[in-house]
Point group: C2
Chain length 455, copies 2
């Protein structure tokens, strides 16, 4: 979800999730015209285009445009779209009398992304330079379907050491982040005759869409403090789980349920997909090892650099049981593999120790952030705080999710309700991510959230 966009080369900053999207869009455009950054006559993108670009509804964009036309900042002409008004200073006098809309939220406490400002640019470019200098020319050609051997060996070494994964380099398949991996797995399972995949009742909507797009029926299982209720997996052919840190509820799949999930898979020749999205970030106890190690023939381990390094890198890896490997590679050959240059850069980054150093630094920083967040919310029950980059904050009595989100927005904070991630029978809560704000903004962001929930 990009928050920076551009019209005619002018960058506009915009925070668009939450309930005040239209107001945020109006303010952003109005300020850009007022401040002269968008010059008179500049053509705005069609409402449909902008809506697609920003991931919001076309009606919202059309309404914002209409409001700004009414205010005199924009002009709409039949057949030539919407432009910045020729003389936007001559706006209707009435405009002055309207109260200014509230400023869009400035602090992003949504879950799902790390602190991208801490991306180790210098170390990454050093790895890329070394890797490019030393690489055989074949790196620039069409690569091995499963990914460059350098990277598969480095990933295998790392996963065995850091996550206890049962892995050999030949069973590692490089992919463009978890979504690409899930897509390829879904298609491979479907090709093998699977028809139904179970997912956790709380999670990313996009993951369900990817499974469904592979032609599979999606069913859900409940989630509680012990993780996914694996007894409900029933007749599904495969299941996608987040055993180390349920997303977003934060619970850890108990040992007993791990064993039952594996029994389920073994009994029916089924497949478990372990989404280990933030396994590196665990604070208060020993890391929970990968489920995959208990049954390497029945679990696909899926890891990603999206949380540990940067989502924009689009690099992830699957460890695939031998019996599913051919089917996965058949789908992999049909496109979507990441750049081999990035693959050798990441291999160097892993091998040189830069990855470990970065993860250690990040773990320390996120742990401090978590502690500051918990200290700022003393009266509220917080779940899932032992790991990861987000927590679930239960709301004070009689405060609804909608009310809490609106209050946070009025305090300048973007945050999402738990209901955005599922429709189960849950307590009213917010999902609060603490990875995203840059360091300098974190204290203020947390203070404002606390004020919103306690004032």
């Amino acid at each position: 979800m990009s928050q920076t966009w551009a019209i005619s080369g002018v960058d506009l900053h915009l925070d668009l999730r939450g309930s005040r999207v239209r107001g945020a869009l109006e303010t952003s455009l109005r300020d850009a015209v007022k401040g002269g950054r968008l010059q008179p006559g500049t053509r705005l993108p069609p409402s449909r285009t902008l809506a697609t670009d920003l991931g919001i509804s076309r009606n919202t964009v059309a309404a914002a445009y209409a409001q700004l036309v009414a205010e005199g900042w924009l002009e709409a002409r039949q057949g030539s779209g919407t432009r910045v008004a020729a003389h936007p200073a001559r706006r209707p006098v009435g405009d002055r009398t309207q109260p200014d809309p509230p400023a869009p939220p400035r602090f992003d406490l949504r879950a799902g992304a790390p602190d991208v400002a801490s991306f180790p640019r210098a170390e990454w470019i050093a790895s890329a330079r070394r890797a490019l200098r030393d690489a055989p020319a074949a790196v620039f050609g069409y690569g091995e379907v499963r990914g460059r051997r350098e990277l598969r060996e480095a990933v295998a070494e790392y996963l065995a050491r850091a996550r206890g994964v049962d892995v050999t380099p030949d069973r590692v398949v490089v992919c463009a982040g978890f979504t690409d991996g899930l897509r390829v797995l879904g298609l491979a399972l479907r090709a093998g005759g699977a028809s139904t995949v179970a997912v956790e009742g709380y999670g990313h909507r996009l993951h369900r869409e990817i499974v469904a797009a592979a032609g599979l029926d999606v069913v859900t299982v409940g989630v509680d403090d012990d993780g996914a209720a694996v007894d409900g997996l029933g007749g599904a052919d495969a299941a996608v789980l987040t055993p180390a840190h349920q997303f977003p509820l934060g619970s850890v799949l108990t040992s007993e349920r791990r064993l039952r999930a594996i029994e389920w898979a073994r009994a029916g020749g089924r497949m478990l997909i372990e989404d280990d999205y933030d396994g590196e970030f665990r604070y208060d106890r020993q890391p929970v090892g990968a489920l995959q190690a208990l049954a390497p023939d029945h679990v696909v381990y899926a890891g990603t650099a999206s949380k540990s390094l940067a989502p924009g890198m689009r690099l992830g890896w699957l460890v695939v049981p031998s019996r599913l490997l051919d089917a996965v590679l058949e789908q992999r050959v049909l496109g979507g593999a990441p750049s081999t240059i990035d693959q050798i850069a990441l291999a160097d980054f892993l091998r040189s120790g830069a990855y470990d150093r970065h993860v250690r630094r990040a773990r320390l920083a996120y742990r401090r952030r978590r502690d500051r967040l918990l200290a700022a919310l003393p009266g509220l029950r917080v779940r899932g705080a032992a790991a990861g980059l987000h927590v679930v904050v239960e709301l004070p009595p009689e405060m609804t999710e909608r009310e809490a989100v609106d209050r946070a927005h009025r305090h300048g904070v973007f945050v999402e309700p738990l209901s955005a991630y599922g429709a189960g029978d849950h307590f009213p809560a917010l999902v609060v991510g603490y990875g995203t704000p840059p360091e300098h903004a974190f204290t203020t962001a947390v203070a404002r959230l606390a004020a919103a929930l306690t004032a």
Copy 2:
């Protein structure tokens, strides 16, 4: 098609296309054991794994293993797979009496890849460093679905200037090479109700597989000296064409056929997909502009860095008509987008002029190679030589394709028959790529091919 692979970290070089795959594999393994690079006891990958890795049949690998076990180089034990023999020097005496198999072909004249040894490493890393240094932190986050604006603007500027494409940055969709773009287009067309896509009767088998994997029926149209026989497009809902340089026959789609293809598309609300895979490389006349410019609402333009820079980069771009854009972005969001870091690096590479410089250098180098190739084959008719990185060489009277390929292999040259790219009613010919060999090997490669076809 990787030609370098590794067992236990030992790199083995292997050329595997063509008719002597098994012999090549045996030789490669035998030499590695003989030379001590593969140590006694080293475990070989399971035959299925190696077959998948190399893209050859499992039977071929199993037969090669069996032969080497018979020769005493390898040992097979029940339950523990195949290993390098403990004492490979004590091979059966009989081995000495067998004639050495012919050496595997050393020169690769297959079509479809550029000279990867000429990849501009220093300039690329300079662009990556500049781009990383100056980028806003948002680059490292989940990016815009259609790709980074910096890259879409640079691509739009380049395509309008170099290929005459009718393009705005908002209609550019970044993809991971042409295969990823074709996959996304196929799914978008299917979601919009399309059921049949026409492809040219000669082309890449993988492209047909990708279209079919999107749930579309694939039909073919004939190809002749005027390009695709577009009158045969009939009732298809869309067609994939290579108008600038038919792959692999090399003909240019005539003006008259361009207009008829567009009439076909307009009349039925259909879509043309213009695969402009090597539009940068044209030698003897003015570049043929993009078909897309004639009907931007009915043609998707698809370009790639795979031929102009390197296939391993997995970077390409679509220019999508507005009416198809939403459907394409809906598929794009489901995964497979390339790294945003690569995107800003390529944007810098385009903007800094490094791309133009590289293409000019490469064009000159490939033109010289083409001239040397043509000069070496004086008695043979050569087609499609005005552009691209390959030609079609008609065979001398009474020489079959199979015979020509075998003769070339015996001269150490990998080359493919025209029939590898289609099953039409064609003249016997070879498809000879002149991009792949490194510069120092090119003269010998061409001389050997000439010897094979004329001796």
